[in-house]
């Protein structure tokens, strides 16, 4: 368009329109905090709409992992690929969604280098609202990644004993835990200097926790020390709970433990993120 060309005439600022715009800028009543948080969530959605490519790793990676692990290791680990899929799918769901949570930290880190954060912080709104809105917006990505895994799993022959309700409950559980975990990464996002540092630190922390869990293999087959670690790993707890829910045989203790762990993560890292965000200057 003509306005970007250096020699094009600059669109004149109309004085009349300017005065009219200034005169009609009366302050409306203050919006509710919920509405402000949702507006920030909408901002996250807009960014996905403008750069849909960023959803590629959320959708393609889980597909690749699920196909590779099922058909490569299924026979070796469980004797048949269909049996292994039955064991693996809930864990794949956990893995795919948790990896996505790292991006919450990366996005926040990028945001902090931009001047727009100053504007948000100078608005008369609840200070952590941009954070909460962004993290809620990320939950949409989690749901998307989860749906991709589950649908592909069903196509490959996953037998959901818990029916549609079980599948939805499993997805919900993973999304809730990922929401809680994303506060760890937003904290990282504010502490680390660059987005690649956030990405590296996030994946470095997540990789061992995901592989040293009960996602891929049964812990009984592991050396005693490793088995003890796997049993303590919250990601194992989440996987166990999701397996239970999807099979229609959920133990309320398993689900309760996951929700408790999620609550602890939020209680520790959400205020920490908010504090770092508020102090950043």
């Amino acid at each position: 368009m003509s306005t970007t060309a250096p020699d094009a005439p600059v669109t004149p600022v109309s004085e009349v329109a300017l005065h009219a715009a200034l005169a009609s800028g009366t302050r409306p009543p203050r919006p509710s905090t919920v509405s402000v948080v949702l507006t920030f969530g909408w901002r996250g959605m807009l960014k996905i709409r403008h750069v849909p490519e960023q959803l590629l790793d959320v959708t393609i990676t889980p597909v690749l992992f699920l196909l590779m692990f099922t058909y490569l290791f299924g026979g070796a680990v469980e004797g048949s690929t269909s049996d292994y899929l039955q064991f693996l799918l809930p864990g794949m769901l956990v893995q795919s969604v948790l990896f996505t949570a790292v991006y919450s930290g990366v996005t926040l880190n990028t945001d902090m280098t931009k001047g727009v954060v100053d504007r948000f912080r100078s608005l008369p709104v609840w200070r952590p609202a941009p954070l909460v809105g962004a993290v809620l917006g990320d939950a949409v990505r989690y749901a998307l990644a989860a749906t991709v895994v589950v649908v592909l799993g069903l196509v490959m022959g996953f037998d959901a004993g818990g029916g549609a309700g079980g599948l939805l409950a499993g997805i919900a559980l993973v999304v809730v835990f990922a929401f809680a975990l994303s506060w760890v990464f937003t904290t990282l996002g504010l502490v680390m200097r660059t987005q690649s540092a956030v990405m590296n630190a996030g994946f470095m922390a997540l990789f061992p926790l995901i592989f040293l869990s009960n996602i891929f293999v049964r812990p009984e087959t592991l050396p005693r020390g490793l088995e003890a670690f796997v049993d303590l790993n919250p990601i194992s707890h989440l996987t166990t709970a999701v397996r239970g829910v999807m099979a229609g045989a959920a133990e309320s203790g398993d689900v309760g433990l996951v929700l408790l762990e999620a609550a602890v993560l939020v209680a520790v890292f959400a205020p920490l993120t908010a504090r770092l965000y508020g102090a950043k200057g």
């Binding site: 600059v10 005065h19 009219a20 800028g25 008369p124």
Partner: protein
């Protein structure tokens, strides 16, 4: 209640590690005009603005903005101000309309009113034709205009403008100046940080000069110029033989040494005020000394600035 000042800061201080970025800034800014904060890069202008706009907590001193304390009553301050930061304070990954709708929603406009307000502002700022283009593809001038538009989604009582024309071409710069004048015309107070002297001169009714975290001078642009003293009176005579007489007379009338220029018919002398200079010129005519031409140069704010900061720099050397 008597009208409160727009800004009232006392002994404002901010340290970053061992560096004292702002070292006891006092400011009194009346409502309804542009107040310029002038200083070189790293003088502490931005840090001062960030404290006044409640983005940074002062380490010492206090500040009231429109009657509200920036620390204890930060929320009340935020309801009355808007900020256009040094980095463009708009979201580059969104379009112009989306940026304005986002802010309108955050400020409490309903969805339809947000859209209408965004459209009105885009029209007023000549940005309507950019349409849904993302802000990262805007030119510098467009980005700045959007930035200011975003600051007046709700017309603020006080607007902070941090170096609004840095990096803009002269045409875009003039546009921004027009917008600032229109804002002030509508009753908004503007605190303008700038390192450009002509910008402060053009827009600001009063100016504080900041250097090394301190206000080193304050006043109207003409007061600041006058405080450094004088302009220079240049005279060129019709007859170069009369130069010694003219030199004697000017020195006597103006109480200042008169320089003889390379041109044998020209002289120059520093004068404290223009009136005495015209008197002296009239005296030359009465004495029969013909003047071919003369000029009276006002000191530029540039000279003021250099004189002030140069002075301050040497004085500041001692404390660490």
């Amino acid at each position: 209640m008597t009208a409160t000042l727009a800004i009232e800061a006392e002994g404002l201080r901010k340290d970053f590690g061992d560096t004292r970025a702002v070292d006891g800034v006092d400011l009194r800014v009346a409502r309804g005009a542009v107040y310029g904060v002038l200083g070189p890069n790293g003088a502490g202008k931005t840090t001062t603005i960030r404290m006044l706009a409640t983005l940074l907590r002062p380490d010492g001193g206090s500040a009231r903005v429109l009657g509200h304390d920036v620390v204890r009553d930060a929320d009340a301050v935020r309801e009355r101000i808007s900020l256009t930061g040094q980095l463009a304070s708009v979201d580059e990954d969104l379009s112009g309309p989306e940026n304005l709708v986002l802010l309108a929603r955050l400020l409490g406009y309903s969805r339809p009113r947000s859209a209408a307000r965004a459209e009105q502002l885009l029209d007023a700022f000549g940005l309507a034709e950019a349409g849904g283009r993302l802000v990262k593809h805007y030119s510098g001038g467009m980005r700045r205009r959007l930035d200011i538009a975003a600051s007046i989604v709700v017309t603020p009582e006080l607007m902070f403008l941090d170096e609004p024309t840095t990096g803009l071409d002269p045409r875009s710069r003039n546009q921004v100046w027009d917008i600032v004048r229109a804002l002030v015309g509508q009753g908004t107070t503007v605190l303008l940080c700038t390192q450009y002297l002509d910008e402060a001169d053009q827009l600001a009714g009063r100016i504080a000069v900041i250097d090394q975290g301190k206000v080193i001078a304050e006043g109207t642009p003409s007061q600041l110029k006058a405080s450094v003293g004088s302009g220079s009176l240049q005279v060129r005579l019709l007859d170069e033989d009369q130069r010694p007489a003219a030199q004697r007379l000017l020195a006597e009338r103006l109480d200042a040494p008169v320089q003889l220029e390379g041109d044998p018919a020209a002289l120059s002398v520093n004068v404290a005020d223009a009136e005495r200079a015209t008197d002296a010129l009239a005296e030359l005519a009465r004495e029969g000394i013909g003047v071919a031409g003369f000029s009276l140069g006002q000191p530029s704010l540039d000279e003021v600035f250099l004189a002030l900061t140069g002075h301050a720099t040497t004085r500041e050397e001692v404390p660490a």
